[in-house]
């Protein structure tokens, strides 16, 4: 009887054990609800060079490495720490890289044909899988090699981050050189996103301001004081041909392109007070958007084309407001701090990059459009002119230190700050250009 009971007990027990999903039967299940947010470890091995004699024209791996590091999302391995320097897949000893925690490896070769053309072969490898993630053979030319390197960085970025890289893009900015005779030289320039390959688009002894890329990256709108009064121009980047857009009495400033490139929002004071207007570029017709006794300026166009954000002191101090591109009642977006100005929409329109001023300290901040929450990204005393990268992952801005005003870039979360090396002078008002489709 007892044994029967015991047997039943055992039977029940075994059923219970059988049913127990944890220890017996089913797989162990673990939910990973957290993670780390670190720069991805990656190793970029110096590319092989087909010509035994002579050095390669550029260091492709260094360009890729710098691009990835500047993004703040990668932690490229220092060259001296590389355990091996393979150029071929067959040479790679994955275990060596695994031991070092390197998740990804970039290897490649630069070749030059008899005709002088270049070709860049590269492979992005998954160290833990021991497999190639992506590999390309990219034809290039001597003047295009840097760009090819940026394009490789873009591919790596997209494969490992999931968002298109913005390394093979251009930036525009204004430089100021103060001559010894007291005269000034302003230039409108464009350059690669890493600051290399600068190209002067315009030179003027009078101030140049507010460059803005057309959505197709072919034109730049800007403000010039060359005629003593502020004038808005649109200039073709390739041909240098330009068009005067607005030269009304008073203020003509802060041009902003509509996402379709057909219209330009500007600040005009032709009606007595600085207000936001929208001009149809083909018809040159103007539409007034704001109507307020306070100053309304620095418009930015949302990427969906619906909204205009601008700076207004109608609430007392400068704050960010938003209004429908077709007009209407503006809505205040910023409430933190006494001074928020010069808004720029993120590519997904969820955020606005602004200059946040507190106690005369100018910093770059990002405001969440929905919640209004403000996140300060920079630490310097005078950081201005934020501009989103086209993938929204970085913001380029100016920072003023003992060396003058320089370009700097920060990741959108503020975790990484890099200064962009530019050769001469004071650099102002950078504008990050759009993706340029091949």
């Amino acid at each position: 009887m007892h044994s029967t009971i015991r047997h039943i007990n055992q039977w029940i027990l075994s059923i219970l054990l059988f049913l127990s999903p944890i220890a017996y039967g089913a797989d162990l299940e673990i939910i990973i609800d957290k993670g780390i947010e670190n720069a991805l470890p990656i190793a970029i091995v110096p590319f092989g060079w087909s010509q035994a004699a002579g050095l390669p024209p550029i260091d492709i791996s260094a360009i890729i490495s710098n691009d990835l590091a500047r993004s703040g999302r990668f932690a490229p391995m220092e060259e001296q720490d590389l355990p091996q320097r393979p150029n071929d897949f067959a040479q790679v000893n994955f275990k060596d890289w695994q031991k070092l925690g390197m998740e990804n490896l970039v290897i490649g070769q630069l070749g030059q044909s008899a005709t002088g053309d270049y070709v860049v072969n590269f492979r992005l490898l998954d160290v833990y899988k021991g497999k190639q993630i992506v590999g390309f053979s990219i034809p290039s030319g001597k003047d295009r090699l840097r760009r090819t390197a940026h394009e490789i960085a873009d591919i790596i970025y997209e494969k490992l981050i999931g968002v298109r890289g913005a390394f093979a893009t251009r930036i525009a900015y204004i430089t100021l050189i103060k001559n010894r005779d007291g005269t000034k030289k302003y230039t409108l320039q464009s350059a690669d996103a890493d600051g290399f390959n600068p190209q002067i688009l315009l030179t003027s002894p009078e101030p140049l301001l507010s460059p803005a890329w057309s959505p197709d990256g072919k034109k730049i709108a800007y403000v010039s004081f060359e005629s003593k009064n502020s004038t808005v121009y649109v200039q073709d980047v390739i041909t240098g041909k330009r068009e005067k857009i607005a030269s009304n009495p008073g203020i003509n400033s802060a041009p902003a392109w509509s996402p379709d490139g057909s219209r330009l929002a500007m600040t005009l004071s032709k009606d007595g007070n600085a207000e936001i207007y929208v001009m149809n570029l083909s018809s040159k017709s103007l539409q007034r958007v704001t109507s307020n006794a306070a100053i309304d300026t620095e418009p930015a166009w949302s990427h969906n084309g619906n909204m205009l954000a601008f700076t207004s002191d109608r609430g007392g101090g400068p704050q960010i407001y938003e209004v429908s591109a077709s007009g209407g009642e503006p809505k205040r977006l910023t409430f933190e701090g006494p001074y928020n100005a010069r808004p720029r929409y993120s590519p997904d329109d969820t955020k606005l990059a602004v200059i946040h001023v507190e106690n005369s300290v100018y910093r770059i901040a990002v405001v969440d459009r929905k919640s209004g929450q403000l996140n300060i990204l920079t630490e310097s005393r005078l950081d201005e002119s934020p501009s989103f990268s086209p993938n929204g992952h970085m913001i380029i801005y100016t920072t003023t230190g003992f060396r003058g005003t320089e370009l700097a870039a920060t990741s959108t979360d503020g975790s990484v700050h890099k200064r962009l090396a530019l050769e001469v002078g004071e650099v102002r008002e950078p504008a990050w250009g759009p993706f340029m489709n091949q």
Partner: protein, 283 residues
Amino acid sequence: MELGWFVKSRSAFYAVLLHIIAAALLIISLDLAPKPINQPKQNINIVNAVTVDKKQVEKELQRLKNEEQQKEETGKKRLAELEKKQKEAEKKLAGAEKKHLEEEKKAADAKKKKELEQEKRELDEQKLAKLEKEKEELEQKHKIEEENKRKAEEEEKKHKAEDDRIRKEKELQQQLAAEEAEIQSGQDVQLIDRIKANIYRSVVNNFNKSGLPTGLSCILRVQLIPGGEVTNVTLVESSGNSVFDQRAVTAVNKASPLPVPDDIETFERLNLRQIQFQFKPEE
């Protein structure tokens, strides 16, 4: 049978003995009568004296004859008496003998009885002894049987005890095993929680969600070998974002070997060869 013959022969012996005794007694009684042996001598003397006168002789003869007759008669008488006496004696003897015989017989009977009794007793005793012996033997036998039986029973008991012991032991072992399994399962639950926590930490520390969109989730099936080395990672359910999936796979691969118990037995018991991971980072 043997006894019958013995008793008969003894009876014959007693009969003979009795007649001898009777004859002896007769001779003694004749001797006790007036001396018949002297008479013939006297007679011879007389005869010599009477021979001279015939008449006298005759007379003598007559007288002698008478005498003789008388004598004869007396003798006869005396014989009769004697006979009577003898008869009496005989009678007496017979009575005595009878008595004696009776006594003898009685004695013999008694003796016989005694003997019989003795015999019987002896016999009984023998019988008894025999019985005793038999009894003893029987008892011995019984005892042996008993002993055997006891032994057998004991053996059986022993066997049964052994069987019982084994059975009980078995049951105990089963019970213990069950209890152990229960305890084990209880411990295993704790152990599993610990292992899960360790693996969780290990994978979380390698899951780089930097720059990934929020709200994504993917499921991986991961094959392990003892020691925790990851041998295979299968994407069971994609997040729809290949980079997210890839980061999850890398997290597991980078965490390899996963922190599992070194003990292979435990590894197998806890079924750690396959683990399912759901990557579902909170915002």
